[in-house]
Amino acid sequence: MVVVGRKELTLAERLYLPEVMRGLALTFGKFFEKPITRQYPEEPLPTDEVTRGQPRLVVKDDGNIACVSCGMCEIACPAYAITIDGGETDRAIEREPKKFEIDMLRCILCGFCEEACPKDAIFMSNELELADYTRAALVYDLEKLRRPKSALQRRIDYVYKLSARWRRAK
């Protein structure tokens, strides 16, 4: 059996009050320092182009969606979050998504869809918040996923910069 001896307390410690005062001094001292916490919902998180938020679909400047529903992101998605059904259009690019759903509860924000896309149609946005009352509302459809190209431009430029670097490295 191991016997652990108890530390002998000093007089100040045994008196109890000085130690309480020391603790309170530390607490009151913090009142006058700059806070390190953030008032989150009121103060949004800072994001930049490196932030890999939820994936969003690019709407080109002519108002058409860039996606041609080729299904590459659907196949690349490791979490099976994406479901696409294609259909025909009258435009020069004959194919477009009729249904494009991302189950945001399944999405793990890995960015594989962004990497797989041959048409620069899906990018990771800086949107991170995800809250609703039902699960069904968190399966985002085409309308919820559309973003104008300008809103994603910083990320697009960043991805292009990165891929140029990879190409050079090769």
Binding site: C70, G71, M72, I75, D85, G86, R95
Partner: protein, 493 residues
């Protein structure tokens, strides 16, 4: 048999077949675009080139395997640097004008050009010339649409019409780099076999209008099955999107029945297997998912398990019932129906609608009963819809069993039957006829397993391609339960 050597293996091969067949039959992969085992070989794409050793003292030659007959003692190498280099050069020229359409193209995933480029081709084009610009969406009739830019001019489609349907309809028009596929005088394609063009096209140039952009092919689950449209019973594969919705029927090779082909009637017969379900709680206006029993307010929904005892009671009290099976009934369902017929003392009959006039020389028999021979061999007698209606007018009770049986008897005729006839239908949909007292749901032919025997006695297989909707019981099980219940009821009485 001729002895040849392929990649160092001594093989005995059929001397009547070209070298490429000898390679494929023995598991040696040789790429091909213009060659199709069902068509005459022309050797236009040159992608099947292999190295053949020359006479002693002579250098080896590179030959097109599809146009080279096998000869005794031939020594063939498919994997040498020389063969690969020649094929890669051919591929580079084929890809010279082929657009980078794979994300949009329907063929992506089952495209020979895509596969071989991935295996053998180079990632970058070296040509600085622009690609040719042609029609991207040229309609060739009601079934097929042509993308001229994607075409690699293999001429399989041209030869399909000359070799298989024996009526030339397509040709290669223009010279050199301006060559395109076109119909004669820009007339639309005709005939019942146009859909095969989308299957045999090695690239995405000819695509099916009905299937266009409906699904990515790698999302389709395939299931071996048999076509339901005529008594030929072509071997098909039923392809369903994510295992739920049937998207297309495609022929699958069967030397004894349909070879590589199928008719458009069968290919596009998706409507009977993709019916919408009846609204929740309702029994009419769509597919029935449980059972329906006639009450004071018309047909009311009920569980199948609760309805079968009612059917048994009714059949026990109304002796002399007629039993008629749908022409789509499988052998297994036929056997179950035969036992029921014995229990009822009824003559086993199956419904045999009149020939539909689609008979041709190639595949379609014009007879809309896919299992006529199978049911006849089991002892069922065919009965025409008109004769059946005459029988039903005097019968006390009747059981019509199998998918689409009410539709094939004719709703007009059934509506005129008196309500004193106790009619029980095992069908996909119920109908509000006065005589219809009970209806029980059945699976479609893509939702059940079984066998059909075609007109020549070939036994075709059916497999479950998509799961039946919740509440739908197999017809053979329902009939067996009914026979068992009937025995219980009569022993009690």
């Amino acid at each position: 048999m001729t002895k040849i050597q392929i990649n160092g293996r001594e093989l005995e091969v059929d001397p009547k077949q070209p070298l490429i067949r000898a390679c494929h039959d023995h598991g040696v992969d040789v790429p091909m675009y213009c060659y199709h085992p069902g068509l005459q070989a022309v050797g236009s794409c040159r992608i099947c080139q292999v190295e053949v050793a020359g006479a002693p003292g002579q250098p080896s030659r590179v030959v097109a395997a599809c146009r080279t007959p096998v000869s005794e003692g031939m020594v063939v190498q498919t994997d040498t640097p020389k063969a690969h280099e020649t094929r890669r050069e051919c591929l580079e020229f084929l890809l010279k004008n082929h657009p980078l359409d794979c994300p949009i193209c329907d063929k992506a995933g089952e495209c020979d050009l895509q596969d071989y480029s991935y295996n053998e081709g180079q990632g970058k084009g070296r040509s600085s010339e622009p690609r040719r610009k042609l029609h991207k969406r040229k309609s060739l009739g009601d079934v097929i649409v042509l993308d001229e830019e994607r075409c690699i001019l293999c001429s399989r489609c041209v030869r399909f019409f000359t070799d298989v349907t024996k009526k030339a309809q397509l040709t290669v028009e223009g010279l050199g780099s301006r060559s395109v596929i076109n119909t004669f005088m820009d007339k639309p394609l005709e005939g019942n076999y146009q859909g095969n063009l989308a299957d045999i096209c090695p690239v995405g140039a000819l695509t099916s209008k009905k299937f266009r952009f409906q699904a990515r092919v790698w999302n389709l689950s395939k299931s071996l099955s048999t076509c339901a449209e005529c008594s030929r019973g072509c071997s098909i594969s039923v392809e369903s999107l994510r295992g739920k919705e049937v998207k297309r029927f495609r022929p699958r090779y069967n030397a004894a029945v349909n070879q590589w082909w199928m008719c458009d009637t069968g290919r596009h017969a998706l409507a009977p297997v993709t019916r919408a379900l009846a609204p929740a709680g309702a029994v009419l206006g769509g597919r029935l998912t449980g059972a329906a029993v006639r009450g004071y307010n018309g047909l009311e929904a009920r569980a199948t398990e609760d309805t079968l005892p009612l059917v048994a009671d009714m059949l026990a009290t109304h002796s002399g019932a007629t039993l008629v099976l749908s022409p789509f009934a499988t052998e297994e369902e036929g056997k179950a129906a035969l036992e029921l017929a014995r229990a009822l003392g009824a003559r086993p009959q199956f419904l045999s609608p009149a020939p539909n006039g689609l008979k041709d020389d190639l595949l379609h028999t014009g007879d809309p009963c896919p299992n006529r021979r199978g049911l006849t061999e089991l002892g069922f007698e065919p009965v025409e819809p008109a004769a059946l209606l005459a029988q039903l007018a005097t019968a006390p009770a009747a059981v019509l069993a199998g998918e689409r049986v009410l539709e094939l008897v004719g709703h007009d005729g059934l509506a005129k039957l008196p309500s004193k006839l106790r009619l029980v239908a095992f069908d996909l949909e119920a109908a509000d006829h006065a005589c219809l007292h009970m209806a029980i749901s059945v699976p479609t032919h893509v939702e059940k397993a079984g066998h059909w025997t075609n007109v020549d006695g070939h036994r075709g297989v059916l497999n479950v391609a998509v799961a039946p909707p919740a509440g739908v019981r197999r017809l053979d099980q329902s009939l067996q339960t009914l026979t068992r219940l009937l025995a219980g009821v009569s022993s009690k009485a």
